[in-house]
């Protein structure tokens, strides 16, 4: 196994599970949890535009403002493009900002998303993952957020409402760190997370203040006292050097994320391992890999398979950008085969896999004893990924591991009518 030379593996001190300190226990949805995070982060400028399912977060945000529990400039824009451009400019002036969208709304803002990353503005956004119309579909697919994966956006996928709140706080700290200064999108599966309630510990303000320093643009702040020119034409003279700076920032993000989780674990008593979640991986012979809320049926299926004596584990990818190459190489080094479940597609790509499988295959390539990767597409358009689906997937991976008929270079669509 040859980890990339530019990054170093760092051991994270994950605090032992203990009772959360401070705050209050609330029965809230993923969207409401993010709204609380935004309030606790004392965000200055928020823009909203309606599209299901992310827009629930703005319904909660606007109510918090209307009730006087939260002070910020709140603007209902006239399109997603304007929505993201407004907060982009607010961020350049030094304001902490929040924004979000779903599906084709996120893509309507694509130009703004590209320049926000290009300008190294630390916007934090929520994506309520949704299929890209047409055909119309409100349900979850990951292709919306994944569309920006090459631009400098950091991308996190969360599985619970608590994780959504915590990751939003971590996102501000990482994005606004001067070593990084890159935007961050938190992906929440539409309906399964945005609209599903769970018990969430909403921390107290003093705890958040102790974790999250103020946003300081310093010499990059656009203000009459600092009359700089931002975003001139650079062309072939300088664009490549500027791209290289973004590349270096994306590389540095890794250690900053590790630091942030270290502190978060220490201060809040939860948070877990930064890049991946390992479930029953200690002695696993085959592993499933996926992102987002499909962790729930996968974990149930893994437990059922374990009862049958099958040594199956699960690795949930929590950050897709920066991609956890080192952690995945290490976590999957001992297994015989890996099954990647993509809730997305990349038509015409290598092996016709989904985006996660393609990146994972690329990340494991340098390993001397790399496991075979069987790729699965499941749960598109918001279709449920059932426990039975996962058992079907796992049996295929086990078959591939034992040299059966399943081709470990192929991609299988699960739960689809042929």
């Amino acid at each position: 196994m040859n980890p990339p030379k530019t990054a170093t593996a760092k051991k994270v001190n994950v605090a032992a599970a203990r009772a959360p300190r401070g705050g209050s226990e609330e029965l809230i949805s993923g969207s409401e949890a993010v709204a609380h995070a935004v309030r606790l982060a004392d965000v200055d400028v928020i823009t909203a535009y309606p599209i299901r399912p992310y827009d629930t977060v703005m319904q909660y945000v606007s109510q918090l403002i209307a009730d006087g529990e939260f002070d910020c400039e709140y603007i209902v824009a006239e399109s997603e493009h304007s929505q993201f451009e407004i907060v982009k400019h607010a961020s350049a002036v030094g304001a902490r900002v929040f924004c979000g969208s779903s599906g084709v709304g996120w893509l309507y803002a694509f130009e703004a998303l590209a320049v926000t990353a290009g300008l190294r503005l630390p916007m934090v956004a929520m994506v309520g993952n949704r299929a890209l119309d047409d055909p119309g579909a409100f349900g979850v697919e990951h292709n919306d957020a994944l569309a920006v994966r090459d631009l400098g956006w950091m991308l996190a996928w969360v599985a619970t409402a608590q994780e959504a709140l915590d990751t939003a706080l971590i996102a501000y700290r990482v994005a606004e760190d001067k070593r990084v200064f890159l935007p961050c999108a938190i992906s929440c599966d539409g309906a399964f997370l945005t609209h599903s309630q769970a018990i969430v510990n909403v921390p107290g303000q003093d705890m958040v203040d102790g974790f999250l320093p103020p946003y300081d643009r310093a010499e990059k702040q656009l203000h009459p006292d600092n009359p700089i020119t931002i975003a001139p034409q650079a062309n072939e003279d300088w664009v490549m050097e500027i791209r290289r700076q973004s590349d270096m920032a994306a590389r540095r993000a890794r250690d900053v994320i590790i630091e942030a989780y270290d502190d978060f674990n220490a201060q809040f008593g939860r948070g877990g391992e930064p890049f991946i979640e390992r479930y029953m991986m200690e002695d696993a012979e085959v592993a499933l890999v996926g992102m987002g809320t499909l962790a729930m049926p996968v974990k149930v299926a893994v437990r059922k398979m374990r009862e049958q004596g099958k040594k199956v584990g699960f690795v949930r990818v929590r950050w897709f950008r920066p991609f956890p190459t080192i952690e995945l190489q290490e976590a999957l080094s001992g297994v015989q085969a890996v099954g990647v479940i993509d809730r997305d597609y990349s038509f015409g790509s290598s092996f016709f896999s989904g985006v996660l499988a393609n990146d994972l295959r690329s990340a494991l390539y340098p390993m001397v004893n790399r496991p075979g990767i069987v790729s699965f597409i499941a749960g598109l358009g918001g279709r449920e990924v059932s426990t039975d689906n996962v058992i079907d997937i796992t049996n295929k991976v086990l078959d591939a591991a034992s040299g059966g008929d399943i081709d470990d270079q192929d991609t299988y669509w699960i739960g689809v009518r042929e």
Partner: protein, 337 residues
């Protein structure tokens, strides 16, 4: 320049920028200086200079993609003495809104020292009258945000090789509307009435004006009025463009004046719902000045060289209609039934 401030509502105040009565009263300081590479005779570069001079040092200026981005700001050189930031082609309204929102939030929360800062966001006609129209419209609804959207209209996408926009005049030759063997007129749309459309559609917007840089002091005073009155405001400047309109660069001012004298470009302002005509336009409206035929304007420019008599007659008829039949001549295009 900003000794006093006018409080409008919570944490919203503007600089009081007095009207400059004559050239001797104009500030000497420039905030748009050397460092750009605009064409010889570029009226828009002059307009930028006047706009920045009128606004003064405590300003943030935002500029949408277009000539005044590409030709002005090349990395490692900038003509802007005040803070300046690029925004996307359709985002002049959003850039202004976001900048003002940030200043307002941060000043209210004590994260930034409180002071009135001018926020001007400019766009060309492609960015303003076409792509960015909805964002400008939205910006003009935020009555508690002090911002000025300034549209420099050179009647084409001039930076990308001169292509027609919704603000190009009828019949104009452009690289997207060249006269050919079968079709003489490729651009058949009549120029959008952008300033009046925005004024009529946003009755809470306190100030909308049209300007022509041939009258530099009037142009600067309108910028100063827009910034002082507060709330979202809009100024539309008609900028002759030697390259796109095809005339000798030394005639930029003269062509601009002809646009006013032929009645094609009415100079007016709408302040708190009251329309006031300016300069020669005022005299055209009162009958004291007889409009020159549009032919005198059109035939000075290569972009109209292919027009036949019937095209010129059509153009003249549309301008006559504007002055003789409109509810408010040159501004509101309706007639009483």
């Amino acid at each position: 320049m900003q000794e006093t401030t006018v409080a409008l509502s919570d944490f919203v105040s503007t600089q009081v920028l007095d009207r400059w009565k004559g050239i001797k009263k104009v500030a000497r300081e420039e905030y748009f200086t050397s460092g750009h590479r605009t064409c010889q005779g570029c009226e828009s570069a002059l307009v930028m200079k006047l706009m920045a001079k009128a606004a003064g040092p405590r300003s943030i200026i935002l500029g949408a993609t277009g000539c005044m981005y590409v030709a002005n700001t090349t990395y490692y050189s900038t003509p802007w003495v005040v803070p300046w930031m690029h925004t996307q082609l359709g985002s002049s309204g959003s850039a202004a809104t976001g900048t003002v929102a940030a200043l307002r939030a941060m000043m209210r929360k004590g994260k930034m020292e409180e002071e009135p800062i001018n926020v001007i966001s400019f766009c060309g006609d492609g960015g303003g009258a076409d792509m960015g129209l909805s964002a400008i419209s939205a910006a003009l609804q935020h009555t508690h945000y002090n911002l000025l959207i300034f549209m420099y209209d050179n009647e084409s996408y001039a930076n990308t090789d001169i292509q027609v926009s919704g603000s190009s005049p009828y019949g104009a030759n452009s690289t997207f509307s060249p006269p050919g063997k079968v079709q003489r007129i490729m651009h058949r749309r009549w120029k959008k009435n952008t300033a009046a459309m925005l004024a009529a559609g946003h009755p809470d917007c306190k100030y909308v004006a049209t300007v022509s840089a041939g009258n530099a002091i009037d142009t600067m005073n309108k910028v100063r009025r827009a910034l002082t009155i507060g709330g979202p405001t809009f100024i539309h400047s008609l900028d002759p463009c030697p390259k796109g309109w095809d005339y000798d660069p030394k005639y930029s001012h003269e062509i601009g004046e002809l646009a006013v004298e032929t009645g094609i470009w009415p100079l007016y302002e709408v302040e708190e719902g009251k329309v006031k005509m300016y300069g020669k336009s005022k005299h055209i409206a009162s009958g004291a000045f007889k409009r020159k035929p549009v032919r005198e304007y059109l035939l000075r420019q290569g972009r109209f060289a292919h027009l036949a008599e019937e095209d010129i007659a059509y153009f003249q008829g549309k301008v006559d209609e504007m002055w003789e039949k409109w509810l408010v001549p040159g501004v509101i295009p309706f007639a009483n039934a």
